[in-house]
């Protein structure tokens, strides 16, 4: 993607967000949309790891939940103002994930997924146990200060404002990731993903770049976690549970992980679908399971892949092959 195109698309995306915030009048719809956008950022984190390193994480709820708990603990103990706490918590998550990554990216394939699952479940159980700090199973409320970045809390927590904050964060995160992946770092990680042995032959150390992608994806999940804690004012061990990681992975696969837009589409479709069904069916998970299987079997590149194919067919007529994946 050229720079000009990224610029135009991100401006369009920002305008689209403003349009949605203006049009979606009812508070409940905006609430659902906000949740969808927050999950979209979370899924973007899981997706970028899969896209860039071929690594499947079953434990990214760790970083999503840790961001919420991090904010909650820092604000409760009053260590620093909230404006400073946000970057500090994200940095801490990045460092933590890089250190974990240095150890676990050495383990190939499925075992890596199981390790992330294990580490995530450890965090889940720890949050349960550390009642004094985290409130255990009851979760903890997050005491955001009365004013944040100069805006009063009541102004910030209007449904339309929260939605716009989440939407702008999503667009900025996507643009930032696009830029990071265009650099030499992006090229190196792709080389390692495609053939680790050859990457080593040409003198690239393979552990640190993969750990860095892991850390990057963790920070993105952490951004989603902080937004979620702003949106709900609450964090509980449920945020850390492995099923949250698995559902997010499901969003990524349904959306398609080869494009950055895929996880975003997947998350928004998932949350909207769940909200639509929630009123009618108590057995929505079975429908998701069925939808997941259908998408995987019939559209291996996810919704984003199917849309791209459709676009190419509309533009170039039938019979033209997809050039890039």
């Amino acid at each position: 993607m050229t720079l000009a195109r990224i610029g135009v698309l991100s401006l369009l995306a920002l305008a689209l967000g403003a349009g949605i915030a203006g049009l979606a009048g009812s508070g409940s719809l905006l609430g659902v949309l906000t949740q969808a956008v927050i999950y979209a950022i979370f899924a973007l984190g899981v997706g970028v790891l899969l896209r860039q390193s071929g690594l499947v994480s079953f434990g990214h709820a760790l970083f999503f939940g840790a961001a919420g708990y991090g904010m909650g603990v820092v604000l409760a103990l009053d260590w620093m103002p909230a404006e400073a706490a946000i970057p500090v918590v994200l940095l801490a998550i990045g460092v933590l994930a890089f250190l974990i990554g240095l150890v676990i990216v050495r383990v190939p394939g499925i075992a890596f997924g199981m390790l992330t699952l294990a580490i995530g479940q450890m965090a889940y159980l720890l949050a349960f146990r550390a009642r004094g700090l985290t409130g255990g199973a009851d979760g903890m409320g997050i005491h955001w200060p009365a004013t944040l970045f100069g805006y009063s809390q009541s102004a910030l927590l209007k449904p339309a404002t929260v939605f716009l904050i989440a939407w702008v964060s999503m667009v900025l995160t996507t643009v930032l990731l696009l830029f990071i992946l265009r650099t030499r770092f992006g090229a190196i990680t792709e080389a390692i993903r495609d053939n680790e042995e050859r990457a080593r032959f040409i003198g690239i150390g393979t552990t640190a770049p993969r750990a860095a992608v892991y850390a990057l994806s963790a920070v993105v999940a952490g951004i989603a976690g902080i937004l979620s804690s702003l949106n709900t004012g609450f964090v509980s061990p449920e945020n850390l549970h492995w099923s949250v990681s698995a559902i997010t992975l499901l969003m990524v696969i349904v959306g398609g992980f080869e494009k950055l837009a895929g996880p975003i589409i997947g998350a928004i479709v998932y949350v909207m679908f769940k909200d639509l069904l929630g009123g009618y069916a108590t057995h929505s998970m079975a429908l998701f399971g069925a939808a997941l299987i259908a998408v995987i079997v019939f559209s291996p590149h996810g919704i984003a892949g199917a849309l791209e194919r459709l676009y190419i067919r509309l533009r170039h007529g039938p019979g033209v092959r997809r050039e890039s994946v």
């Binding site: 499947v56 394939g109 580490i119 450890m122 492995w242 399971g289 997941l292 299987i293 291996p300």
Partner: protein
């Protein structure tokens, strides 16, 4: 005090042997990390519960594995065989989708509340063991674990079909060229593995409670066992299951604060020292 905990560790280890041997067999042949295994365990427990309420426990002990064997055959024929050329991640997520569907199905049929199954009369008495009283039923669970371990090992080592299974697990293409019917072999293995999940479910029903979320804990512990043992290795899984049961039991005595974390710490420690697991992976 410690010996009773070791005994309970052995009971849980035996359950994990039954559960994870099915996972390891299916992984060995199909290279699939089967999330649906947890759902089959749960279905086995619930079907066992319903059958035992209407007739008796011993019929349930036969009916649940038999029903799961049928489900396994269907899963292999209309799932895994059709997806065998796809990415392992894809197939893994299909089995995850199946887990979601089956969990909802169980909640739909049996409700979301907890159930518990009575201990069969025949084994409902205490046994004196090393100065402790232990329920005879738990001795029975250990016996089932031992039977499964010995039975599977003998079957794989001595029977002709066992030889085919080992051949197809090592190299399916070459085995097929040598005239092994690999589709039949994988139907047998997935059917048997699923029956073992059903067996684990019905055996666990009298001492673990039944709920639509019961699959999660045992499934994760079984993954830990299979990964520690070395993916696809049966002997490694047996050793890892017993070790994990013991680690949890000893941890509950000496480190009660962190005992729930021990399986994971144990797995991380082993994988960092030996990334391919205790027995070494065949992939």
């Amino acid at each position: 005090m410690l010996s009773i905990h070791l005994f309970n560790g052995l009971v849980y280890g035996a359950l994990l042997i039954v559960m994870s041997s099915g996972l390891a067999l299916i992984y060995g042949l199909r290279r699939v990390v089967n999330f649906a295994h947890g759902a089959l365990y749960m279905l086995g427990a619930y079907i066992g519960y319903s059958v035992a309420l209407r007739s008796n426990f011993w019929l349930a002990l036969l009916a649940a594995p038999a029903a799961m064997a049928v489900v396994g055959l269907l899963l292999d024929r209309y799932g895994l065989r059709l997806l065998q050329d796809r990415e392992p991640l894809t197939v893994m997520l299909v089995t995850f989708g199946l887990l979601l569907i089956l969990e909802d199905l169980v909640a739909f049929i049996w409700g979301k509340g907890n159930h518990s199954l009575f201990t069969p009369d025949l084994l409902d008495f205490p046994v004196h063991l090393l100065g402790h009283e232990v329920p005879a039923y738990r001795m029975g669970v250990i016996a089932v674990g031992a039977l499964v371990a010995v039975g599977l090992t003998l079957w794989l080592r001595l029977s002709k079909i066992g030889l085919y299974v080992r051949a197809a697990s090592t190299d399916p293409v070459t085995s097929a060229m040598q005239g092994v019917d690999t589709d039949l072999i994988s139907a047998v293995v997935v059917g048997l593995g699923s029956a073992l999940a059903g067996l684990a479910g019905v055996v666990a029903a009298p001492f673990l409670s039944l709920s639509p979320h019961m699959s999660s804990d045992v499934l994760i512990d079984s993954f830990v066992v299979v990964v520690i043992g070395g993916l696809g290795s049966l002997a490694g899984a047996f050793a890892a299951a017993l070790l994990l049961g013991m680690v949890q039991a000893i941890g509950a005595v000496y480190m009660p604060g962190v005992s729930v974390l021990l399986p994971f710490i144990f797995m991380i420690a082993i994988l960092i020292c030996k990334p391919s697991g205790l027995a070494g992976s065949r992939t």
